[in-house]
Symmetry: C2
Subunit: 159 residues, 2 copies
DNA sequence: TCTCCTTGGGAACGCCGACGCGCATCTTGA
DNA sequence: TCAAGATGCGCGTCGGCGTTCCCAAGGAGA
């Protein structure tokens, strides 16, 4: 299935405005509400739209500190990876975790209230992870870009 | 303003189901639809809920490769940072960019179709960024955790 | 040219969300 | 202990929205 410019416009709008009504979207894009509803439903059924989710203002919850954590394991054996991954998904302050190529084994993104709070997280969550050889933390001083979807997606009209 | 367990339950549900109807949420949480609507509106007005956005399946668009890019600048002068940041926000394949403490200056998260595509991005987007001294890329082999909101948020009932 | 298929648009119906009102509960102060 | 305000909840109404059906227009292929 190929997406045309109108489909991409719908996606672009819904990624910033998931609650927009059909009539609202239709007038912005230049379609009737019926036609728009059909296209939106198709985009959902085909899997382009995965879900609709509310975005929370994490600063409102005091989570203003982002930390990138590099973790190297004692060994890269399969059961070491499995054991680590089974535990890291349980860490409540971890929002992302990647298995990486190169020297570092895993990279985590952790959200904390402040540096003292990260010390607590390091003690109660990170240091309890199994098979860990080395933990190295870097603090984000500022966030310059934060997009859920790369803008390149919205410029790929096929027809 | 303090949030109780019901507020957190509403937030938890909306982060996975932003289009859930009031009646649907109400029965899950144990409230009437009116009471739920009021609480939801309060959460929006107080800024806890920032927006409602559709989540796209990026794999459906062929974006299956995540790359972490470390970028060091020639200098850390204020205008070097400003010049870099003004350009990096324009890169269509960049989804996250942090100014970091420690040795590396910036860390970017880039989405690409594959390794060849990342070579193109490196050539057309990253290498054109100003004041860059060094670029170091690491590929994510697998994603273990990907949460928009840390689960710790939903366990902070104040009353 | 005829037919099939796709896509857009209009109208009716049913449901949902927004709003105002009244009631119950809890708290504050004398 | 009692009164008064605040807070939270449920019910009912009304307007708007989504859903569905039907029909029209345009393009592709035999």
């Amino acid at each position: 299935m190929a997406l045309d410019r109108k489909d991409l416009a719908i996606l672009a709008e819904l990624t910033t405005n998931a609650r927009a009504s059909h009539a609202e979207l239709a007038s912005k894009i230049g379609l009737s509400s019926t036609a728009l509803a059909r296209r939106q439903k198709t985009l959902e059924d085909e899997g382009y739209i995965q879900a609709y989710q509310a975005t929370l203002d994490l600063a409102q919850f005091g989570l203003t500190t982002t930390v990138l954590v590099r973790i190297a394991l004692e060994s890269q054996s399969d059961d070491a990876l499995k054991a680590f991954e089974a535990e890291v998904v349980k860490c409540p302050s971890v929002v992302r975790c990647f298995l990486m190529s190169g020297t570092d084994d895993y990279i985590l993104i952790v959200l904390a209230r402040d540096i003292q709070d990260f010390e607590r997280i390091h003690r109660t969550e990170l240091s309890r992870l199994p098979r860990v050889a080395r933990v190295q933390s870097s603090f984000a001083l500022r966030e310059i870009v934060n997009r859920a979807v790369p803008t390149v997606v919205f410029g790929e009209a096929k027809r």
